[in-house]
């Protein structure tokens, strides 16, 4: 056969570009040119805001009238600061020493693990004023605490025998010592308390958190608290640099919604002081995280975003368009990654809009409807924890959408992927309160639901026992930790999806 010589065709178009940005541009064009998808995205925002508003405006507005201001600590947070205080002025540097007996609870009951008895050097007897204190606790050994939020662990304490404690001041620096026998001393730690005057009050204190009772049966939970009371004896009390006389005071007047315990008391008998107290010296932790609750709508608003994420890939399989996509970009892994990036970007922006609006519209209302709003921090969008929660909500919605995309790519089936995602993310909300605490906490720790931990704005203090109920939105892990679990889910599933897409025939 004699084929005529043919000049192969040469295109006169300007050269094409094939970078990742072009792939992103293509996927973005795909996403924005289906109007139904834009509406779905909008639905995600609207539902988030509406559910947040519903949860804010449906709250009981039982204004009790008691709106007395709670004590505020040196760092601005609301604090519990209520204890019997036997003290004397201390000018300049000096120290206070005492032998502290083990704590006993009311009517022979075991004291709370975080009950405290020890020595305190405090600016004044005013609740909320700066202080440093060394103490023994029934459950956590010797502790050095200052200004409510700082806590350093010392040595262990024998449950049945008295323990010697010493607290020394040197300018702003406080050093705690402890001893089992009063002769060999060990350093328990140092801390700084800024801004103290020359003359401060050095003395003895006892304090205890409330007793909490949790009733958790299938489908119903009740958390109750009642004041606890502890007693401890202080012997061989000496103040180096003190002024001799021992005035007695009671700092604060009971805190935490005005609950009153038995009156605090302090008595002295042959040089041994016996103190009984029922208040606590600790940061105040509200039961309700208002900023978190103002973002609650995201838990429902994610449903349309899940549908969008799944459809973004399964629609291509349904229509056979995946063939066009893959012939245009044969490097399949990059296609899916580009899809994920575009989807994440778009849902992040939508989530950010939804979360910001939810917070701004719901938070003031929620706070206003609390029994005493003053006990809840008055937070602004720009506060670090709130910013973390709002931006974190946007990130979590983006991660959920990517997770849905990955699941859709793996299953290639819209109905199954959407159902799995919605059930996994929403059903736990309904059922968690029915599961035993351990099981519920494992669900919150390991499933994609963990990401919602990022909405917590209240700090967790190691030296405050909080009742952590899943149904109250308390997560067993930190905000970032939870968000990482969700992101890990999204990344791992996306990895599996990329692997499958490359391995399988289209």
């Amino acid at each position: 056969m004699t084929a005529p010589t043919i000049t192969p065709y040469r295109s006169e178009l300007p050269p094409a570009r094939d970078g990742f940005p072009q792939l992103l541009h293509a996927e973005w064009t795909k996403l924005r040119t289906v109007r139904r998808w834009s509406l779905t995205l909008l639905a995600g925002v609207v539902i988030t805001v509406l559910v947040s508003l519903l949860s804010a405006f449906s709250g009981s507005s039982s204004v009790s009238g008691d709106r007395s201001a709670p004590p505020v600590g040196p760092h601005g947070g609301v604090v519990s600061d209520s204890f019997p205080f036997v003290h004397q002025p201390l000018s300049g540097d000096g120290s206070i020493t005492a032998r502290v007996s083990p704590l006993t609870g009311r009517e022979g009951r075991a004291p709370e693990p975080w009950a405290k008895a020890g020595l305190v050097i405090k600016e004044s007897t005013k609740a909320g004023s700066p202080y440093a204190a060394v103490m023994i606790t029934p459950g956590h050994g010797v502790r050095l605490q200052s200004d409510f939020t700082h806590d350093t662990a010392g040595g262990t304490v024998d449950r049945d025998r008295p323990h010697w404690l010493r607290l020394t001041r040197s300018g702003d620096e406080f050093t705690a010592y402890e001893s089992a026998d009063g002769s060999t001393w060990a350093k328990a730690g140092t801390t700084r308390v800024a801004g103290l005057p020359e003359t401060v009050q050095a003395g003895l204190f006892v304090a205890t958190p409330e007793e909490t009772m949790v009733q958790r049966q299938f489908g119903s939970t009740s958390v109750g608290g009642r004041p606890a009371r502890v007693t401890a004896a202080f012997a061989h009390v000496t103040v180096d640099g003190g002024q001799g006389a021992w005035p007695q005071d009671t700092v604060g007047g009971g805190v935490g919604g005005g609950l009153k315990g038995t009156p605090d008391s302090a008595t002295e008998k042959s040089g041994t002081w016996t103190l009984t107290g029922s208040g606590d010296v600790a940061p105040y932790t509200p039961d309700v995280d208002i900023a978190q609750q103002s973002l609650a709508g995201a838990q429902i608003g994610l449903i349309p975003l899940v549908a969008l994420g799944v459809l973004f890939i399964t629609a291509e399989y349904r229509r056979g368009m995946i063939l066009t996509t893959l012939t245009a970009s044969p490097r399949r892994g990059r296609v899916l990654v580009a899809k994920a990036v575009v989807l994440a970007g778009v849902t992040f922006v939508a989530g950010l809009v939804g979360a910001t609006l939810s917070f701004l519209l719901s938070e003031p209302e929620l706070r206003d409807r609390m029994p005493n709003p003053l006990f809840h921090p008055d937070v602004a969008l720009t506060d670090a924890p709130v910013l973390r929660a709002v931006v974190g909500t946007a990130v979590l919605l983006a991660a959920v959408a990517v997770l849905a995309l990955a699941l859709g790519a793996i299953l290639r089936n819209t109905a199954v992927a959407v159902t799995l995602m919605v059930v996994a993310l929403v059903l736990p909300l309904v059922l968690l309160s029915g599961l035993p605490l351990d099981a519920a906490q494992w669900v919150m720790r390991l499933t994609p639901l963990a990401g919602f931990a990022v909405q917590r704005t209240l700090p967790d203090y190691e030296h405050v026992d909080a009742v952590c109920m899943p149904e109250n939105g308390c997560y067993p892990q930190g905000p970032w930790e939870g968000l990482s679990v969700l992101c890990a889910w999204a990344v791992v599933l996306l990895g599996v999806a990329v692997w499958r897409l490359r391995r399988r025939d289209a």
Binding site: V51, L54, S55, S58, G59, S60, Q215, R216, Q217, F218, Q293, A296, G297, Q299, I300, I303, P304, V306, A307, V310, L311, T314, R318, R369, T414, A415, V416, V418, T419, V422, V423, V426, L427, L429, V430, L431, S433, G434, L435, P436, D438, A439, E471
Partner: protein, 258 residues
């Protein structure tokens, strides 16, 4: 009508996904039932005998998961016809649209009721096997008691109603993703709102009107006076949702071009 029924049944049984989904109804229900009955304990009660746990309801918790498969089943029975274009053949074979939808609803409900019976009886059996090991030995589960029988029968009916609701929604929305999202939203998002709203009055209102929480009130066998809505009236609310869904579906199906 018999022809239409037979046609719908043949269509349904010749798709493998039907059998997978019906199997999933039971498997998911049993799995969650085993988890909840396996993790419950009498620790919170003064003594095991005084534990007034609603063991029947507990054993049937798995329905919360199994209903997702029923929803997918009901939606797909309708939406897959639009997705593949089979709807045109269906309507040329049986031009009466009301008849088509009625036949579909009958067949889908029948299949769901059958699968639901297996799911419910299996769950009760699982509960009966597991619960005594956790200290709930005094009251073995038995269908001879009135409330337990009501819970079992009611739950099966509930699943049938879910299938009808899903079918109706799919007839309105036509698109699989949209329909399944809508149904799951009704089934899960509405009850989840209870956890998100603070006010008890609102919580009660949602309990009374959300299809899943109202319908599943039929599972309660103890403390009936403490419920926001009674067992049968709860199921009636679910029935109203299903009826409304089917009615809307039928209206759209008749009025809109296929």
């Amino acid at each position: 009508m018999r022809g239409a029924l037979h046609a719908e049944w043949t269509k349904l049984r010749t798709v493998p996904s039907t059998w997978w989904l019906l199997f999933a109804v039971s498997a998911l229900t049993w799995a969650l039932g085993a988890v909840t009955t396996g993790t419950v304990s009498t620790d919170q009660c003064p003594s095991p005998d005084e534990c007034h746990e609603d063991t029947v309801k507990l054993s049937l918790t798995g329905i919360w998961l199994g209903q997702a498969a029923v929803a997918a089943f009901g939606v797909l029975a309708m939406s897959s016809e639009y997705g593949t274009g089979t709807i045109h053949s269906t309507l040329t074979a049986v031009p009466g649209r009301g008849r088509v939808l009625a036949a579909k609803a009958t067949v889908v409900t029948g299949a769901t009721l059958a699968a639901g019976t297996v799911a419910v009886l299996g769950s009760l059996l699982v509960g009966r096997l597991i619960l005594p090991g956790n200290g709930f030995s005094s009251t073995p589960l038995s269908l001879s008691e009135g409330p337990a029988l009501r819970a079992a029968v009611g739950t099966v009916l509930y699943l049938g109603l879910i299938a009808q609701l899903s079918l109706g929604v799919a007839a309105v929305v036509r698109d699989t993703a949209g329909a399944i999202t809508t149904v799951l939203g009704l089934l899960y998002a509405l009850p989840a709102l209870v956890e998100l709203v603070g006010d008890e009055k609102w919580q009660e209102r949602i309990h009374e009107w959300a299809p899943a929480s109202a319908g599943l009130a039929v599972q309660a066998t103890k403390n009936l006076e403490g419920l926001p809505i009674g067992p049968w009236s709860g199921l009636a609310v679910m029935g109203a949702w299903a009826g409304a869904g089917l009615l809307a579906g039928a209206t759209v199906f008749k009025l809109r071009d296929a």
